[in-house]
């Protein structure tokens, strides 16, 4: 079969699929079944390099103002810091635009939500969300998060409006829901969830959390430093 130094995977112009197929083929061809690590890693590196860099993106669903607002929200949700970029850098607006352009329900969540957000900002500050100061923007998001967490804390205790003695007493609704902010809470839930997903499924985000896997190893080992750290900080120390 093949000698030890012979490269097992030779690819002229591989698509990812072809590359993986070559790995599979190479592996099944090797006597003794030992995979050549360099070969496999080479293929993975090639697949990554071939990922097209996003140049200027033309939104499929949102208008420029909406798209800009999504970008601002994304970088407020996961901001850039000294370690890594923001959710905007990680392609969150493009991710949301792509999926919402394929799904009317999702499109309605975002176009409706963005419009609600601007209307609320105009009521509060006479300015749209992107036109507002950073302090005004974070004040808005803080009030949404507070309303959301109050609502969730009550729900966890079984204190929902529907379960309360005030059910059907519409004057009490404000005590249980988020007065006036309900649509904003729902929209922000979607916005944050998708911005977080876009960030942590990007190369930037995967590097940010320092995920080390998706590799090809010949043996599995756990570093002693990791075990020592866990034991030292656990109730089993000493």
């Amino acid at each position: 079969m093949s000698s030890a130094n012979e490269p097992l995977v030779q690819i002229e112009d591989p698509s990812r699929r072809d590359a993986l197929r070559s790995i599979a083929l190479a592996v099944t061809l090797v006597a003794g079944g030992q995979m050549k690590l360099e070969a496999a890693q080479h293929v993975h590196a090639r697949a990554r390099d071939e990922k097209k860099k996003t140049g200027s993106y033309a939104p499929k669903l949102f208008n420029d103002h909406e798209f800009k607002t999504l970008g601002r929200l994304a970088e407020l949700i996961i901001p850039a810091d000294t370690v890594s970029g923001s959710a905007r850098d990680a392609g969150a607006p493009e991710f949301i635009d792509l999926l919402a352009s394929q799904n009317e329900d999702l499109a309605a969540v975002f176009t409706g939500g963005l419009s609600w957000l601007d209307a609320e900002m105009r009521t509060r500050y006479s300015v749209s969300f992107v036109g507002a100061t950073a302090e005004q923007q974070t004040a808005m998001l803080d009030s949404l998060v507070e309303a959301e967490q109050t609502k969730r804390a009550r729900a966890a205790l079984g204190q929902t409006y529907e379960a309360s003695e005030h059910y059907r007493d519409f004057r009490s609704y404000g005590t249980y829901g988020a007065p006036g902010l309900g649509p904003g809470v729902a929209f922000f839930g979607w916005m944050r969830k998708m911005a977080v997903d876009a960030f942590y499924t990007s190369e930037i985000g995967i590097k940010d959390v320092d995920f080390r896997g998706n590799a090809t190893l010949s043996e599995f080992e756990v570093p002693k430093a990791a075990i020592d750290h866990a034991l030292k900080h656990s109730p089993f120390a000493g």
């Binding site: 197929r21 944050r192 990007s202 998706n214 656990s234």
Partner: protein, 571 residues
């Protein structure tokens, strides 16, 4: 009426379905030189084209959320875009119904290899006592076979498939012939310490993964992505480990996209073949053969038998006793997770491993039932480590940490610090849990569909509460805090939805007495010598061991028997 095409060809053995049972039947019979024809309701599997092993989420624009964000609306691929599942809880045009007051979900695959392409690969032997449950607590029914009958076939199956593990000498988890087990991950070392304190055995996991080369299959390369399908076939799936190799023998003929309708009998009541719908042409076709092995999955095989009505078999084939469809069992499931501060700040490492946990906890209270207040037991599966981030990985943190640097830093701090526990326990068969033919509904192929009825009883609920207390104790003993379900939510969601553990078995029960069972200890129908059922159907009980390895072993034993009967001219 569609025109029925009769194939003039005479087949030797027809196998219906290609999962663990079908794959094992094909492997064992073709090795003996017996010709097998496989009917599979789905298409051929092409791993090189279909497996998404080693892909990053950003390799696709939707990152795994699927077109239109289907995953966000619960309409995505079951178990995620990157997994290799084919099928799901609902199949287009192939419905099932659920009786009033019941809840049941049925996962079906339609592809060569069936559910073995994506299953969890936990490979546990039943214990000696698992075969005689009635003798121990007066509940359920004994199997007609014992551990000694099946043990040699566990050996064969483990040797052929490859299962990790270590010799432990624990009665609830008999030792097998094992591949070398990988070392425990950092969080698992803490879990084991906690279990040591609590008196719970925590031992190397037994998974159908090879850590050393076996029969030309290369060793695992520790990417942890078994669920995506393994391009190097370093884990067990019937497609890659049994069926593809059998295709090279010239003894296997595969008819894919073939939806079995019924088993055919002649005027004397002898099984003569199988009728199926060719899904590509919607024509009904027939194969004639010497013997039939149903390995379509417990409920699908029951459905085929119940639909095989004739003058001789007015209740359906192999159903003179009326037990076909009865004694439907799933596994009792409950899960709890916790956040463990000792894991914060750990130097990150590649924790992918063999996919799934490297340790597990077998049942430990088999002689303490008078103290725990419920019969039978469960094993515990472990989750944790630095998983590849995907859609939904950090939704919990997103809800708790608001937004901004607090969120970003919160995710960094907590990533990889969560551990999860899943209990997998034994259900007692009951009279309220069964499937039958729905008299009013057919699928798009015109075949009458199943209607499910299901109830958990106090036995299962008590067991689930024991799981909950145990998992909370383990989490707290490690210095962690239970996360996830609130007390209010637990009351509603304190036990798995029936069917969702995908261990449904028992619907074509084996036994010595034809009045109370459908097949004998060799999975051979009492009513037809040349008809076998080799999936979870013949299970008499559903011990706290995932069923696949036992299906492999039972099938091997049945096929040895069938081959011998064919040689003697009895079949």
């Amino acid at each position: 009426m569609p025109q029925v095409r009769r194939s003039p060809e005479e087949h030797e053995v027809v196998v219906v379905g290609s999962g663990a049972g079908g794959g094992s039947a094909i492997q064992v019979l073709t090795e003996k030189g017996i010709k097998v024809t496989l009917l599979e309701a789905g298409p051929m599997l092409d791993p090189a084209k279909e497996f998404k092993e080693h892909m990053w989420p950003y390799d696709v624009d939707h990152r795994g959320a699927e077109e239109g964000g289907a995953a966000y609306f619960g309409r995505g691929k079951s178990f995620g875009y990157f997994t290799t599942t084919s099928g799901g809880w609902q199949l287009e045009g192939e419905p099932y119904t659920v009786g009033e007051g019941s809840e049941f979900q049925w996962f079906r695959s339609r592809i060569i290899g069936g559910r073995t392409n994506h299953y969890g690969r936990m490979s546990f032997r039943f214990s000696d006592y698992d075969f005689k449950p009635y003798d121990r607590d007066g509940l359920g029914t004994n199997w007609p076979i014992s551990y000694e009958d099946i043990a040699p076939y566990y050996d064969k199956a483990e040797l052929f498939i490859g299962v990790t593990g270590t010799k432990e000498g624990i009665r609830s988890a008999p030792d097998g012939i094992f591949q070398q087990a990988p070392p425990p991950k950092a969080h698992e070392i803490l879990i084991k310490k906690a279990c040591d304190r609590l008196g719970i055995p925590c031992i190397p996991n037994r998974r159908a993964v090879i850590t050393r080369e076996l029969n030309g299959r290369p060793a695992c390369h520790y990417c942890g992505q078994c669920g995506r399908g393994c391009l190097t076939a370093s884990n067990y799936s019937s497609s890659q480990v049994q069926i593809f190799p059998a295709m090279k023998t010239g003894k296997l003929k595969i008819i894919d996209m073939a939806m079995a309708r019924e088993v055919l009998t002649d005027g004397s009541g002898k099984v003569v073949g199988v009728s199926y719908i060719d899904k590509r042409t919607r024509q009904e076709k027939r194969v004639r053969c010497r013997a039939v092995i149903l390995t379509a999955s417990a409920c699908e095989s029951a459905r085929i038998l119940l639909n095989s009505k004739s003058k001789h078999f007015p209740n359906g084939l192999a159903n003179g006793s009326g037990v076909v469809g009865r004694f439907l069992m799933d596994t009792v499931g409950f899960g709890l997770s916790g956040q463990v501060p000792a894991l914060e700040g750990l130097p990150h490492y590649n924790s992918d491993g063999i996919g799934g946990a490297h340790l597990y906890m077998p049942w430990w209270l088999w002689d303490k039932h008078n103290q725990i207040g419920f019969p039978r037991g469960y094993h515990i599966e472990i989750g944790g480590g630095y998983g590849m981030p995907g859609i939904g990985s950090f939704h919990g943190q997103a809800r708790r940490f608001g937004y901004g640097m607090r969120l970003k830093e919160g995710v960094r701090r907590e990533y990889g610090t969560t551990v999860g526990f899943a209990g997998r326990g034994e259900m007692i068969p009951n009279n309220h849990s069964y499937c039958e033919i729905d008299p009013n509904v057919v699928d798009k192929w015109g075949i009458p569909v199943l209607r499910f009825h299901f109830k958990w009883t106090d036995y299962e609920w008590k067991q689930a509460r024991h799981m909950e207390r145990t998992f909370a104790e383990i989490i707290e003993t490690m210095g962690g805090k239970v996360t996830g379900l609130s007390a209010a939510e637990r009351e509603k969601e304190g036990i798995s939805v029936p069917g969702t553990i995908i261990h449904e078995v028992g619907t074509v029960r084996m036994g010595n007495d034809p009045r109370t069972s459908a097949v004998n200890g060799f999975c051979q129908a009492h009513e037809a010598k040349n008809l076998f059922v080799c999936d979870g159907g013949p299970f008499v009980s559903n011990p706290d061991k995932n069923p696949t390895l036992t299906i492999n072993a039972l099938t091997w034993r049945s096929c040895d028997f069938l081959a011998e009967e064919m040689r003697k001219g009895n079949v």
